[in-house]
């Protein structure tokens, strides 16, 4: 009973919280606190439920677990849920970040609290659903549905140029994913089912794979985002409210990586092999070019946004290396980036709430007045660089090994990116927290409050814990990744052998 209902419960529980918030009477500020508490309790309950899910999850089994599967709408759309090693931790990550976002918005959001909390709770349902569904059409429903709340979050509670940012966010993603929609229909037409578990073993013809891969790529490359499809991201990040940036960077970008891992690689292996060098090239350009761009940014959020694009370059590089280390590393990098980029945006939010500016030059010497904040910020920055001992290291290291084993030049380029990331991140730390505190308006700035500590400390603990002891994550993702890489190598190897064979026949 609990086996089959827990995923559904986790996915739709936030909606119940949203309904409860709708029913809170009145529109005066007195009720805002009630709404915040309802949102917090709901998201914490969901998080607890995902921990139960993780505990019940059998890491040795590479197949989907907690499966629910029945046909629902005519036209192939079924209600199918299930998680495997690839998706389960992304569900947990999402559920972990939501309560943090609610707490982080506790005081910074004072207008239209009701809509804000409802938007976040709906977003949580859609994000968890996207990771937990096993129906391709339903995946699209969740994936694309997340545009609505995020569009409103950026547009209503965002900064000065919020309208433009929200439009850009919507259009880039929407245009990218309509191609995926056509591809999903074509898959149904070819394979006769939208059940992801069945589609993973369906063999598409190489020509179909080519087009389907491109259509999926159009969607995921925008979402991830890969260079040069990243133009929407800096603006969306900069203009979104703090919690919106956190969700955007930590979870919504992961849709892209998850999509590559779940669909592109296993369903279209021949096409993936064909496009490997193309993806490698884009990844390396992303890592180097956006790191350089990050160096010259004067807006803190923009700098972190560009660093996100660079880090996603490691993810695509790892995934398309098609090796065990690469995919493990990419998944680990996605989870770690979820924690680290979320933490960095929260840190920016802390000082933005105090000074209402994101200009780097407006700060300096914060370590004097804010020692606790400075400590946290330095730890997050080091994790962003990928210092050994933080979770950022594991993912970058694994993907670099994988890239090295496949293509040395790619590895060399990516390694250059690691150096650049140290440059921009450390320079940001230097300009922000060190140096002399000579700006007058900073002299009275206050250190982290207890609420802010409650938000940041768990992230510090997790980042360092998984940096030293990545086993819980690697164990959970291991078997599923093994199976995926094995199948992929099998198909590709076979194709290569057949090519050799036919070439040999031709010679004779």
């Amino acid at each position: 009973m609990i086996e089959t209902s827990i995923l559904t419960a986790i996915t739709f529980l936030p909606l119940i919280g949203a309904l409860a918030i709708v029913t809170v009477p009145g529109d005066s500020a007195r009720f805002d606190a009630t709404m915040r508490w309802i949102a917090l309790v709901t998201t914490l309950t969901v998080f607890a439920a995902t921990l139960v899910l993780w505990a019940m999850f059998d890491p040795a089994d590479p197949d989907f677990q907690f499966v629910v599967n029945f046909e629902w709408l005519p036209g192939g759309i079924g209600y199918r849920m299930g998680v495997d090693g690839i998706s389960i931790l992304l569900v947990v990550l999402t559920a972990l970040l939501l309560p943090i976002c609610v707490v982080a918005s506790w005081q910074s959001i004072t207008v239209r609290v009701r809509e804000y909390m409802i938007a976040f709770l709906i977003l949580e349902t859609l994000m968890i659903g996207a990771f937990a569904t096993l129906d391709l059409a339903l995946f699209f429903v969740f994936f694309e549905g997340s545009l609505i709340p995020m569009f409103l979050i950026i547009g209503i509670w965002g900064g000065k140029r919020r309208v433009q940012a929200s439009y850009k966010f919507f259009f880039y993603t929407f245009t990218g994913s309509v191609f995926m929609l056509i591809a999903i229909m074509a898959i149904y037409w070819q394979a006769g089912t939208l059940d992801i578990a069945k589609l993973l073993t369906f063999e598409f013809t190489p020509e179909a794979q080519f087009w389907l891969w491109l259509a999926f790529f159009a969607s995921f490359a925008v979402k991830l985002p890969m260079w040069p499809f990243h133009r929407w991201l800096p603006e969306a990040h900069v203009e979104a409210p703090t919690a919106g940036s956190v969700i955007l960077a930590a979870v919504l970008l992961k849709f892209g990586g998850y999509g590559f891992l779940r669909f592109s690689l296993p369903m279209f292996p021949d096409a993936s092999a064909l496009f490997t060098n193309f993806v490698f090239a884009l990844s390396v350009v992303a890592i180097i070019a956006t790191s350089l761009v990050a160096l010259v940014q004067e807006d803190m959020k923009k700098l972190i946004a560009y660093s996100s694009v660079a880090h996603m370059g490691f993810v695509t590089m790892g995934i398309f290396s098609g090796t065990k280390q690469g995919v493990d590393g990419a998944l680990f990098q996605m989870l770690s980036h979820g924690l680290v980029s979320g933490a960095l945006f929260l840190s920016v939010g802390v000082i933005y709430d105090r000074m209402h500016t994101r200009e780097i030059s407006a700060y300096g010497g914060l370590a004097d007045r804010m020692p606790r904040y400075a400590t946290a910020f330095v730890i997050f920055s080091l994790a962003n660089i990928g210092l050994p001992g933080t979770s950022g290291f594991i993912g970058e290291f694994l993907t670099l090994i994988a890239a090295f084993s496949v293509n040395t030049w790619v590895a060399a380029g990516a390694a250059l990116g690691v150096i650049l990331s140290a440059a921009y991140a450390l320079w940001l730390v230097w300009r922000l927290v060190f140096g002399a505190l000579d700006k007058d308006n900073l002299k009275s700035i206050l250190d982290l409050s207890r609420r802010e500590m409650a938000v940041l400390v768990p992230l510090i603990v997790l980042i360092i814990f998984f940096g030293f002891y990545p086993a819980p994550i690697l164990d959970a993702i291991g078997p599923a990744v093994d199976a995926l890489v094995h199948d992929y190598a099998g198909t590709i190897g076979l194709a290569a052998e057949m090519a050799v064979d036919s070439a040999a026949t031709a010679v004779h």
């Binding site: 969740f142 694309e144 569009f151 056509i182």
Partner: protein
């Protein structure tokens, strides 16, 4: 020629239409002979009549072909008639609260709506080019009058005249096409035409006739390039009348088009598919770009409805049962969205009139959160963003197109929907991101019910109506194949 009506029982398949016709006459009598202000009670009875006929049609589903084959009652007809009756009844409900200022406080309005509905039901059941024309004209003549019913308003009169002139032109084209088809096949009955065509005797004149016939029908569904009347009539007619125009007649014309091309011209599918694909692409693309510059809400909705006709035609282009399924589902969802949207517009009443411009909606989320939320849901649904019903509507029609290997059409369609997102989002932006300018009066209860029910169905489509509606549409479409 002997009659096929040997007893009264043989009339049972046409009972809903007979009931509606008698009801319309009774309403006319009541309006004439009752003393005092009769329009409210006549409207009430008319709504009851439409509902009763709908219930009758659904409770006693009797199939049959009558009157020497000019009238057919089948599952497809029942599905479309149900939508039409719902559309007409709700359009009357929407007109109740503002009948006075819209010049609709006349009992004739309800009677004309009922007569137009009768015409639409005959269109849906028409199995012969003659009954097709009779139904179409009964509908159209009633609609011409309704468009100009607010006599003191020059805009409404202009709209009525425009609609009449262009409508008469389209009727002429349709008749000319019908005469060519009769001339080259010797048949007027839809299934007989198909039989002649399948013998392989096809001349160019027949294709010309087909083009004229389809052009006449394209006028009625306002597909590009026969759409010019739509923005002007939508803008000029009183809003409750626009709500009626945008809902039931579109469904009826689409149903007629489906039956004609699927039954009659199935043997020359390649010919009509080209035409339908052209209409579809032109409607989607033109509406997407033309609507961007609009400032008036009703003109925007007019272009939006043109675009949606284009999307529905994507399903018909496939020429398969899946495609007809898709169009049937599309029309049901389109009807829901349109009626809820007009309920929102009619609920936005200021001291001196209704919200007409998009900028009037500024900051609506702060002054009228319920209406704004409903409008936002409608806009996202019209774009086709999941999980709202508009997405599933597009899913079915595009799925049919992909299965028919019309990839280019599908790609153009989804790109057009991405462009159309721009103007729909502008309304959301104005309502949610801007500051309020106007104060609106409280919305009447019946409009709140329509808005609430519409929004609920659109949001919960996947869990509530999706499965039963899909199954019903599939059965309905099955009766054509």
């Amino acid at each position: 020629m002997t009659s096929d009506l040997m007893s009264l029982d043989a009339l049972l398949p046409v009972l809903p239409e007979i009931a509606l016709a008698l009801g319309a006459l009774a309403l006319l009598m009541a309006g004439v002979f009752l003393k005092g202000e009769t329009h409210a009670s006549v409207s009430g009875i008319a709504i009851g009549l439409l509902v009763a006929v709908g219930v009758l049609a659904l409770l006693y589903p009797i199939d049959g072909v009558l009157f020497n084959g000019v009238f057919v009652a089948d599952g497809f007809g029942r599905y479309m008639k149900t939508l039409i009756l719902i559309g007409s009844a709700l359009a009357l409900v929407l007109s109740l609260s503002s009948a006075g200022e819209n010049g609709l406080a006349k009992f004739e309005y309800s009677v004309l709506v009922v007569l137009a509905t009768l015409g639409m039901m005959i269109m849906v059941s028409a199995n012969d080019l003659m009954s097709l024309y009779i139904g179409l004209e009964l509908q159209s003549l009633a609609l011409y009058v309704v468009a100009a019913i607010k006599r003191e308003s020059t805009r409404a009169s202009e709209a009525g005249l425009k609609y009449f002139v262009l409508g008469a032109l389209s009727s002429g084209m349709l008749l000319y096409g019908a005469s060519l088809i009769y001339g080259f096949t010797g048949q007027t009955q839809i299934d007989e035409i198909a039989k002649v065509l399948s013998l392989g005797d096809r001349s160019l004149g027949l294709t010309v006739g087909l083009v004229f016939l389809l052009a006449g029908l394209a006028f009625k569904i306002s597909a590009v390039p026969f759409h010019m009347w739509t923005p002007d009539v939508y803008e000029g007619a009183p809003t409750p009348v626009t709500a009626f125009f945008a809902s039931a007649p579109k469904v009826a014309a689409m149903a007629l088009l489906i039956r004609v091309v699927m039954d009659s011209f199935e043997p020359i599918a390649l010919q009509w598919q080209q035409i339908v694909i052209f209409l579809s692409v032109a409607s989607m693309v033109l509406a997407a770009f033309a609507a961007i510059g609009q400032k008036n809400l009703k003109r925007l909705i007019a272009y939006s409805s043109i675009g949606h006709v284009g999307f529905a035609l994507v399903g018909l282009s496939a020429g398969s049962q899946g495609g007809v399924d898709g169009v049937a589902i599309y029309m049901a969802i389109y009807l829901t969205m349109t009626l809820a949207l007009f309920a929102c517009l009619l609920a936005l009443r200021t001291e001196d009139g209704f919200a007409e411009q998009i900028s009037d909606l500024s900051g609506l989320a702060q002054t009228k959160p319920f209406i704004a939320a409903t409008m936002a849901i409608l806009m996202f649904s019209l774009i086709g963003v999941p999980p709202l019903a508009g997405f599933f509507a597009k899913w079915y029609v595009f799925l049919a197109a992909v299965e028919a290997e019309l990839f280019v059409l599908a790609v153009i369609g989804v790109l057009a929907s991405a462009v159309s997102a721009f103007y729909y989002l502008r309304i959301v932006k104005v309502m949610y991101f801007d500051e309020p300018v106007l104060q609106f009066a409280a919305a009447p209860a019946e409009l709140r019910v329509v808005m609430g029910a519409g929004a609920f169905l659109l949001v919960t489509y996947f869990f509530t109506v999706g499965a039963p509606l899909g199954a019903w549409a599939h059965n309905a479409a099955g009766s054509l194949f």
